[in-house]
């Protein structure tokens, strides 16, 4: 990165054939990714899926076992992190405790020998509305303020690529919403390329132009948020992004435009262009908010799938909507989100109910859902380390 020159605009990021192996496990397995310049890209996935590792590879804080990383067309795989035109907003903020807020923000500028570093640092602080705290130490700031300082410290360097590692994780809900809007506006205003890593799917969908869902070191699906949500390709994406009702069955017949899947004695139709597979055992699904709840058998109509009758086993009020669970024999539990247009639930616990949805709203997956345990296993290295440490301490205490 030439000392002194700001990037004029964001740059492309390209990851080609990246593998990252740690002793004992593979964090990233053959990853190919291309993020166009100036976009807000979200890398979404559960703990341990490899998204933070990907971020660290781009920042230069880790080296890939194999593969290449290109920024703005230049191969930076062998370039040390302090020479890459990339800045990171760390999850823990990592604000230097022995420097003031201003010195923190000016740090990167001074290392690159930029003139007027102090003035530019003040400008960046004004952008996040913290200029009045410039002489404080980071420990004297609240979590939200620290987060904004960390952002200013990174953005002030106008990097070709800005990496955000779950930066909003420690903030409370309201503050998080606020920061989401601010981040988005800064990104569009300054025109940088943002790579945002998060496990919060709502956050990814609201902020990003493109979302990539990562699982076990690979990208399962990538695209615009609406595309990922309304047309998930894999069971993981269908379940990770929002909730889905999934049904597994055999394709019994197909027409020109759709396939018919039989499950639990009922035939369900899915458009071929929304189904990844057209023959054999397939899993199809529909989003809970797309389902209509009926208390009497609905009339048969073309272009509508019906399931039922079943019994309402759970009614949960959550403000905007009410979540119903219907147990349908032969099929299983079906979840319905109904917007609360009226006061009170539409059906009561224990009542008989049918669900129906437009055929066009269904989707077909490329695989089957894994058997999901009741409590998701904590498999990321950080949690394992914490658990081991607790066990150790407990043993030391008792001895």
């Amino acid at each position: 990165m030439a000392g002194g020159a700001f990037a004029e605009a964001g740059a492309d990021l390209e990851l080609v054939g990246i593998h990252k192996r740690f002793p004992g496990f593979t964090a990233i397995d053959d990853l190919d990714l291309r993020i166009p310049a100036g976009s807000f890209f979200a890398l979404l996935g559960p703990s341990g899926c490899g998204k933070t590792t990907t971020l660290r590879l781009v920042a230069g804080l880790e080296q890939p076992t194999s593969g290449r990383i290109l920024i703005g067309g230049k191969d930076v795989t062998d370039v040390k992190s302090f020479k890459r035109p990339v800045n990171t907003v760390f999850q823990s903020y990592a604000l230097f405790p022995h420097m003031t807020v201003l010195e923190n923000v000016a740090f990167g500028l001074r290392r690159r020998g930029i003139s007027d570093a102090t003035a530019k640092a003040h400008e960046a602080l004004r952008l996040v509305e913290l200029d009045h705290l410039a002489t404080r130490k980071p420990q004297q700031l609240s979590g939200g303020q620290q987060q904004r300082v960390a952002l200013a410290r990174a953005v002030v360097n106008r990097p070709a690529l800005l990496l955000l590692d779950e930066p909003l994780g420690a903030l409370d809900l309201k503050l998080r919403r606020q920061m989401q809007l601010e981040l988005k506006s800064i990104q569009t205003e300054v025109g940088l390329t943002f790579l945002h890593v998060t496990h919060d799917q709502e956050e990814a969908m609201t902020m990003a132009d493109t979302v990539a869902v990562m699982n076990k070191g690979q990208i399962e699906q990538m695209g615009a948020p609406e595309e990922l949500y309304e047309l998930p390709r894999t069971a993981f994406v269908a379940n990770f992004l929002g909730q889905s009702n999934l049904f597994t069955g055999r394709v019994t017949s197909s027409t020109g435009s759709s396939i018919v899947v039989e499950t639990g004695g009922t035939k369900l139709e899915v458009p071929k262009e929304r189904a990844q597979r057209h023959t054999g055992e397939v899993t199809i699904g529909v989003r809970p908010e797309k389902l209509m709840l009926h208390t009497s058998p609905p009339k048969k109509a073309a272009g509508v799938n019906v399931l039922g009758p079943g019994r309402v086993t759970d009614v949960s009020f959550s403000g905007v909507s009410t979540q119903y669970q219907i147990a349908i024999p032969g099929v299983g539990l079906v979840t319905v989100f109904a917007q609360n247009m009226v006061f009170g639930p539409v059906v009561n616990l224990g009542a008989e109910a049918w669900v129906a949805w437009t055929v066009d709203h269904g989707f077909g997956l490329v695989d089957e859902p894994e058997h999901a345990p009741r409590f998701a296993a904590d498999t990321d290295t950080a949690t394992i380390a914490v658990q081991t440490r607790h066990e150790l301490l407990a043993e030391i205490e008792e001895s």
């Binding site: 394992i384 658990q387 066990e391 030391i396």
Partner: protein
């Protein structure tokens, strides 16, 4: 994989630094096998004699025994008094807290000559004859602060929730102290006692001002230094060193193997 010189510079330096630290130890150990007569400076020949007949050197074993005795008694005094103070400082609020912290800190900051001379002057003006008793008193004094520091750190790392759980489960304050606090503090208290003993065993300056003729091991070595320290002193020192080393290594290995066992289970 590129092997750059820079990467290996620091580890190499560290190894050299550690070797440097060990030079006198190795020297002392080697010369404990020296077939010397009076002075142990020139190498004469290899022998196990000194190890076999350690107490042949006049006054050496007596001095060694004295050092052990002083160490044990002073450690007991310092550990008991110090543990009580540490618990008080770590757990309670009271007026004069900072003054007491400062008071405890001062003996650690006072040069040994000053401590030694002060105590000696005190004993002199009080008419107390110097001997074993005054040595023990002096040792307990300077060990006290170190015990407080060590135990206080251990108390600070104690999860108060454990004692609260003890109270929640119907333990009286005294029972909680006896069955929860004290056992949990035991590693810290042990560490403090070992530190105290080590400090006492190796102390020379303060002892010299207050011993009134009674010889501890360091005093013996000092007086012998002028004419020549017998190789038997090296023997005792090496034996003590090896014992301490073995203890520490065993302790480290057991905690490491404990970690490995846990990792296998998890």
């Amino acid at each position: 994989m590129k092997l750059s010189l820079g990467k290996w510079l620091l580890p190499l330096y560290s190894v050299l630094a550690l070797i440097f630290l060990l030079v006198p130890i190795v020297y002392t150990f080697v010369f404990s096998f020296n077939d010397s007569v009076k002075s142990n400076i020139v190498w004469v020949g290899f022998t196990f004699d000194k190890w076999a007949n350690v107490c042949d050197a006049q006054g050496l074993c007596a001095a060694f025994a004295t050092s052990i005795l002083v160490g044990v008694v002073a450690t007991v005094i310092a550990t008991v008094l110090g543990t009580l103070m540490a618990i008080a400082l770590a757990r309670f609020r009271f007026r004069g807290r900072s003054a007491i912290s400062l008071l405890l800190f001062l003996p650690m900051a006072t040069p040994e000559v000053v401590l030694g001379a002060g105590l000696a002057a005190q004993f002199l003006s009080a008419g107390i004859p110097k001997g074993l008793g005054t040595i023990i008193i002096a040792h307990a004094l300077f060990c006290l602060s170190f015990v407080v520091v060590t135990v206080k750190a251990r108390v600070a790392s104690l999860d108060p929730a454990l004692e609260e759980a003890g109270r929640d489960l119907y333990g009286s304050p005294f029972q909680v102290f006896l069955r929860v606090t004290l056992p949990l503090l035991l590693p810290g208290i042990t560490a403090a006692a070992l530190l105290s003993f080590a400090l006492s065993f190796d102390d020379f300056i303060i002892t010299r001002f207050n011993n009134g003729g009674v010889e501890t091991l360091p005093v013996f070595i000092y007086t012998a230094a002028a004419r020549g320290v017998p190789a038997e002193a090296n023997v005792i020192a090496s034996a003590v060193f090896l014992l301490a080393l073995v203890l520490v290594v065993v302790q480290q290995l057991t905690s490491a193997s404990r970690r490995k066992r846990l990792a296998k289970l998890g």
